[in-house]
């Protein structure tokens, strides 16, 4: 009986772990979907925006530490709001530079932003802890719930509630006149401009809101794990998030969320298969193969099912 209970709670613990990550990714992918799916903005630096959110919240909420700047002991909720704010500001700066230009430039600029943020996280040791990262990021309500399963489940509930709120807010947003303008600009910029809609302003707004959601996702991640380091925000994270959006189907919030859960499931399953089947010495090589698989997955989806699993709900008459 006790064995059975232990096993049961083991599964529950793993399940809640898995779902918290999937839910966090879903929040970020929803932000990416607003940028790409609804506005056609190609952001290759998602990991950078996520890192900004994670580090902002971590720096503000951790207790004071002797060996680094920061550690302001703010409440976690305030840290999350600040994470959204700072990521949004980075988005504003990037967008102001790159959104007026042809769309490849945004891809290249965001790629550079992610590289630079990675560099700063690694080298601004007094602020970010350098390659060792930041520890003791507070886990909200841990004083009440302890460190065990109860806390995991409570955090899962929080993440899912947050995901639901973001989903509803975005759904309202894209169905509003503002959302219609976004799609109009994406499909035919000249026509939208001729109706007096300034494409640049709408694009910038969409880009900033998307960046804020990425920052929020980063903060949610940081406070769940309790530890962040530069290696958590490598380009592979950006690729995973893109795979989620492409597999799920961009331009559709349900697709974005579904993609996050499906791809994360695929990733976790292939990872545990590799760990189980591949001998210890070969694990680093096998991990490389796993990443290559994600790259192939993106390419295959583009070739065979460019609209993703769900695809965009066609709401208005389209020019094609």
């Amino acid at each position: 009986m006790v064995d059975w209970l232990a096993q049961y709670s083991g599964w529950l613990s793993y399940g809640s772990f898995f779902l918290v990550f999937a839910g966090t990714y879903a929040i970020i992918v929803l932000g990416l979907n607003l940028q790409w799916g609804y506005t056609g903005l190609f952001n290759v630096g998602v990991a950078g925006f996520v890192a900004v959110g994670a580090y902002t919240s971590a720096i503000l909420t951790t207790p004071d530490a002797a060996d680094r700047i920061g550690g302001f002991g703010w409440p976690v909720a305030a840290g999350w709001v600040a994470a959204m704010g700072v990521s949004g500001l980075v988005g504003l700066a990037v967008g102001a530079v790159a959104l007026r230009l042809r769309h490849d430039y945004l891809a290249i600029t965001t790629f550079g932003v992610a590289v630079t943020i990675q560099l700063l996280a690694t080298n601004l040791q007094p602020l970010t802890g350098g390659t060792f990262g930041m520890q003791f990021i507070p886990k909200p309500l841990q004083g009440w719930l302890g460190t065990g399963l109860a806390w995991n489940l409570a955090y899962l509930a929080l993440v899912l509630a947050l995901l639901g709120a973001v989903y509803l807010a975005l759904q309202t947003l894209v169905q509003s006149p503002w959302g219609r303008v976004l799609r109009a600009i994406r499909e035919d910029e000249a026509a939208a401009e001729s109706l007096g809609k300034r494409a640049f302003v709408f694009r910038l707004q969409s880009f900033v809101i998307g960046s804020m959601l990425m920052g929020l996702g980063g903060a949610v991640y940081a406070h769940f794990v309790g530890y962040i380091a530069p290696e958590d925000f490598l380009p592979i994270l950006t690729f995973q998030l893109w795979a989620m959006l492409i597999v799920g189907g961009s331009g559709n919030h349900r697709g974005a969320v579904l993609g996050a859960f499906v791809v994360w499931g695929f990733w976790a399953a292939s990872g545990s298969l590799l760990r189980g089947w591949v001998p210890q010495a070969e694990q680093a090589r096998a991990a490389a193969l796993q990443v290559a698989l994600i790259g192939v997955l993106i390419a295959l989806m583009l070739l065979w099912r460019p609209r993703g699993l769900v695809g965009e709900t066609v709401a208005v008459s389209r020019s094609e």
């Binding site: 190609f42 007026r100 891809a107 590289v115 630079t116 090589r285 990443v291 192939v296 390419a299 583009l302």
Partner: protein, 305 residues
């Protein structure tokens, strides 16, 4: 001071060669290819494999040509690498890019992104993450100028070789584009694809030629990067930002722009190493990129459109 310039020119010549290929594919295939850095990395590793097959990596070796750390085997290996890289690029085009061409530039960018990820991690899978070298021999830098003249100037023979061959290659590409029929067809397609087609130019032929030239230049640049720095699976990823900065700085489609842009990026990186520290080297290309986007987003030598 002079040393910063010399180091910058060596870095820059590698970036320039890569950037020429990137700017050609950018202007003729009309998308920013995030896999171009991986072509360079694959070229560098192809050369390593060829070299191993020639049995020429044993320390020193009588086959090294006097001042250099390498001999004919490396040059032969570079030629093999160029051919293999061109084939790899063509295979990738027919498997992926050609099928997506109708769907617009951004789909191609995403595809190149996925391709880059797969290519890079396959390198990691095949060769492992440990940095490798073409030769185990340590090369002593030769003092060209004593310390009393503007801080002095030291350079290795290999670096001089890279500078020289890069210059020859650039001139060769220039002559090819200006003088040969295929080169003219490529320039025409870059300026106006519809008009080029009306004039009887086969667009698929031009696209293939562009891929081959881009692949060959990438392989050469990759071998140079391996020769002057080291071989590692992230070689392509690390060079991607400098490449794009060089292409945009020079103006998309301009070969000389890419060369000048590459040299400027190289100088900026070298200056950053000396002034701010080596750990921020990668940010130099980003600063150059942002500056050009703010001041003159069409680049210094933009082709007229």
């Amino acid at each position: 001071m002079l040393q910063i310039v010399a180091d910058g020119l060596v870095i820059g010549s590698v970036v320039s060669l890569g950037a020429i290929g990137l700017t050609l594919t950018f202007s003729i295939l009309r998308f920013s290819n995030f896999a171009h850095g991986e072509f360079m990395a694959w070229g560098a590793y192809f050369a390593l494999t060829a070299l191993l097959m020639f049995g020429a990596t044993e320390a020193g070796g009588p086959r090294a040509i006097a001042p250099f750390s390498f001999g004919w085997p490396l040059l032969a290996a570079a030629a093999v690498a160029a051919v293999l890289t061109a084939l790899l690029v063509l295979a990738l085009d027919s498997a992926l890019f050609r099928r997506l061409r109708r769907q617009g530039a951004i789909t191609l960018v995403i595809a190149s992104f996925g391709a880059a990820l797969a290519l890079r991690n396959l390198l990691l899978y095949f060769y492992g993450g440990v940095p490798q070298y073409y030769s185990q021999e340590l090369q002593i830098a030769v003092a060209l100028l004593p310390r009393s003249v503007m801080g002095g100037l030291r350079i290795t023979p290999d670096q001089l070789f890279v500078l020289g061959l890069a210059a020859v290659t650039v001139v060769g590409v220039h002559l090819f584009l200006q003088r040969s029929t295929l080169g003219r067809a490529m320039r025409a397609t870059s300026m106006n694809p519809q008009l080029a087609r009306v004039a009887g130019i086969d667009p698929e032929h031009v696209l293939r030629a562009t891929w081959v030239i881009g692949g060959v230049l990438a392989a050469v640049a990759g071998v140079f990067a391996g020769l002057t720095v080291q071989l590692r699976p992230t070689l392509g990823l690390d060079l991607l930002l400098p490449l794009f900065a060089a292409v945009i700085l020079g103006g998309i489609g301009s070969v000389w722009g890419a060369v000048i842009g590459g040299l400027i990026v190289g100088l900026a990186e070298s200056a950053a190493v000396h002034v701010v520290g080596a750990e921020y080297r990668a940010a130099a290309a980003f600063v150059v990129l942002i500056a050009i986007l703010l001041v003159r987003p069409t680049g210094l030598f933009a082709e007229k459109t």
